[in-house]
């Protein structure tokens, strides 16, 4: 019996002692020596955010729903096209595109990788994920490029936007997952939005960096020959910043792919969902299939975009 006692739950008296001790602590007067030992914090940020979300979501939801429209169109168009083309033809087409953008070697690798994805039974999921990643990339460039250009021109803007970019990259996705779902409804569009939040910072940062790294004497020479702001940007700054901007595109793609699993938690289908289901059902097999699909897509996209960047440099 003594053994039973050893494994037993602490008895009621001890438990109530512990609880009462805690409640006694609660009633204790505020002490400057332990200034932060206040339930819920001195500044009730959590409650503030809750109130704000409750107030703002119903108002902004329609606005965000409208904003979501173009994302939805773009996403559906790409996904529809990728799934409409018969898989063997799609593999050949994608390999040819890879060849056009990079080298024969990378193209063959891409083709073989996609063939394997098909053989292990993750073709449709891979195409859904690919369309999601491409859509995210498209909107990241659309948003990131102009913001990056703007930041390269204004130190003040950079000092304000930089911490925001830091926050976007470091805030755990789970924190903004729920508000995003509240605003956009669960599904693929919300998945793209979450991916954009996480993946757009490198696009902005590297566009800014690339333009700032253009040698000052070239800028001076261009100005001396009479460039206006637009010509300076299009004829000198962007072409010379292109290798760095392509590195931004590459980073954005990689971060986008790494969001696939998290996005699947808000009902985004694709390879991420396979992984999530695998974890949920304790089915290592299906999780591996999904995971392998993500890795194949990641490596192929990485090599292709890296090659484009190096080519320019």
């Amino acid at each position: 019996m003594s053994q039973d006692n050893a494994w037993a739950v602490p008895d009621d008296t001890q438990e109530s002692d512990y609880l009462s001790a805690k409640s006694a602590q609660d009633e204790r007067a505020y002490s400057l020596l332990e200034p932060f030992d206040v339930d819920g914090g001195i500044i009730p940020l959590d409650q503030g955010v809750d109130i704000l979300i409750d107030a703002v979501v119903p108002v902004l939801r329609p606005v965000f729903q409208i904003m979501a429209q173009p994302i939805g169109w773009c996403l559906n168009a790409i996904e529809y096209t990728l799934l409409l083309i018969p898989a063997p033809l799609a593999i050949i087409l994608l390999a040819l595109i890879a060849w056009k953008l990079s080298t024969k070697k990378i193209a063959i690798g891409t083709g073989l990788g996609l063939l394997m994805v098909g053989l292990i039974g993750a073709w449709n999921e891979a195409m859904v994920t690919l369309s999601l990643v491409i859509t995210s990339l498209f909107f990241c460039i659309l948003i990131g490029l102009p913001i990056g250009i703007w930041l390269s021109r204004s130190d003040r803007a950079l000092s304000i936007v930089r911490p925001i970019l830091d926050a976007m990259q470091t805030t755990p996705a789970f924190v903004y997952l729920i508000p995003i779902v509240m605003l956009f409804s669960p599904g693929k569009v919300a998945g793209v939005v979450v991916t954009i939040i996480f993946a757009v910072p490198p696009m902005i940062r590297l566009t800014n960096l690339g333009i700032r790294q253009v040698p000052e004497d070239l800028i001076e020479a261009a100005k001396a020959f009479g460039t206006n702001r637009r010509q300076l940007l299009l004829k000198v700054q962007l072409p010379l910043a292109m290798p760095t901007i392509m590195a931004g595109v590459n980073q954005t793609l990689m971060l986008g792919l790494s969001m696939v699993v998290i996005a699947s938690m808000i009902a985004v289908p694709g390879l991420g969902l396979m992984v999530l289901q695998g974890i949920g059902r304790n089915d290592i097999g299906i999780a591996t299939v999904g995971g392998l699909g993500i890795v194949v897509l990641a490596i192929a996209l990485d090599r292709i975009t890296q090659h484009i960047g190096n080519q320019r440099a």
Partner: protein, 403 residues
């Protein structure tokens, strides 16, 4: 010659509060005091000079003397704090952005020390860069004019190369072609040849002088190298701590430097290559014999004996140099009843006014008397005696020693 570009009371103060610095400058404070007091850096103060049409105007000074700042204020790559930059009488400093852009597109172009060629464009695209910015010129015309400019600098065959494939000298030829391609009124050259090695540099100087002989363009050339300045400059402005301390021809500056700073530039410089025959000749008055008639042998002899001189220089009514006579040659001509024309000595030969001093040392040393110096129309300017030449060379020695 007409004034092309005129700089009037030009100031550049770097910093947030130029007014404070300007006030202190008016109060007579110097650059360092102003920087300590206000944190404003004086780049250029009260610069004024006129650049004539078709001349090469060299602005010379040590690094930090404000010469690069001043040239950038001419096309407003750096905004002047105060003052005027008049191109054909129009103030560039007051232009709005669009007017300024038109000036940069058509009137003023620039060659840079670092070449500053666009690495992503071919040589031909680099050369037509300026033309491409002006919307009105068609592509075919751009290519044609770029090729013409490349041909002038001898790089027509390299039009499709990228700048990184060319040597430094070739890259700067591309820089020059790019600047010439828009056919500018004024060419600004900011230490254009300083990054090149000495052999290529002098080759490029020759190239510039050759091009300049073809089109007599107004060129503002920035340099820290006196040899270069003297070699290519029609006139030189010398800057010290943001102030233009002296403007003049190379000879003016060498012969009468405004202060020790200017003088210091010439230390170690071989004066005999900088000075020419006329700089020495003008300083000594020889015996001039007017050739009036054939019956003047007597009067010539009297003139020489009266001055206790052995040699005389004969000129005609237009002051054209005719020949050298000596008391001996006149006397022997008189004895043989000959005329003045037979009394001329075979030596010394006349020296052209622009012969560098370094090339006339042996002529002066071997001549029986001081050789005469004539200008390009044959008029006698003066003579150079051995004493005079030694004096000039000695002056240089003392300067070098005092360094």
């Amino acid at each position: 010659m007409k004034t092309k570009l005129s700089v009037k009371n030009l100031y550049k103060i770097f910093g947030q509060h130029p007014d404070k610095a300007l006030k202190l400058l008016d109060a007579g404070k110097d650059k360092d005091e102003i920087f300590d007091e206000t944190g404003q850096a004086v780049g250029v103060q009260n610069a004024s000079f006129d650049i004539k049409e078709g001349e090469i105007f060299v602005i010379m000074g040590l690094s930090g003397s404000g010469k690069s700042t001043i040239v950038r204020m001419l096309n407003r790559l750096i905004e002047p704090t105060q003052g005027q930059v008049l191109l054909d009488g129009v103030d560039i400093a007051k232009m709005n952005d669009e007017e300024l852009r038109q000036i940069r597109l058509h009137k003023i172009s620039m060659v840079f020390q670092s070449f500053a060629l666009m690495p992503h464009l071919t040589v031909r695209e680099n050369v037509s860069f300026g033309l491409g910015l002006a919307a009105e010129i068609e592509h075919a015309e751009q290519v044609k004019r770029a090729d013409e400019a490349l041909e002038r600098v001898g790089l027509l065959a390299n039009g499709d190369s990228f700048p990184s494939e060319l040597s430094g000298g070739m890259q700067q030829r591309v820089g020059l072609a790019r600047a010439l391609c828009i056919n500018p009124d004024v060419l600004l050259m900011d230490e254009a040849f300083s990054a090149l090695d000495p052999l290529i540099r002098s080759e490029m100087q020759d190239e510039l002088l050759r091009l300049q002989a073809e089109d007599r363009r107004t060129i503002v050339f920035i340099s820290h190298d006196l040899d270069e300045a003297v070699r290519i400059g029609d006139r030189i402005a010398i800057m010290q701590d943001g102030v233009v301390v002296q403007v003049g021809t190379p000879d003016d500056i060498i012969n009468s430097p405004a202060n020790d700073y200017v003088r210091s530039f010439f230390r170690g410089v071989d004066i005999s290559t900088v000075l020419s025959a006329k700089d020495l000749a003008q300083t000594q008055q020889p015996i001039i014999i007017q050739k009036q008639s054939t019956q003047c042998l007597n009067s010539a002899l009297q003139q020489l004996q009266g001055a206790d001189e052995h040699y005389g220089y004969v000129v005609d009514e237009q002051h054209q140099f005719v020949g050298v006579v000596s008391t001996d040659s006149i006397e022997s001509a008189q004895q043989s009843n000959l005329l003045m024309g037979d009394a001329y000595l075979s030596s010394p030969d006349k020296i052209l006014f622009d012969t560098p001093v370094s090339q006339l040392i042996s002529a002066v040393a071997h001549a029986p008397c001081a050789p005469p110096v004539v200008d390009d129309s044959g008029k006698l300017i003066g003579v150079i005696s051995k004493t005079l030449l030694l004096d000039a060379l000695d002056r240089q020695e003392t300067q070098n020693e005092s360094r």
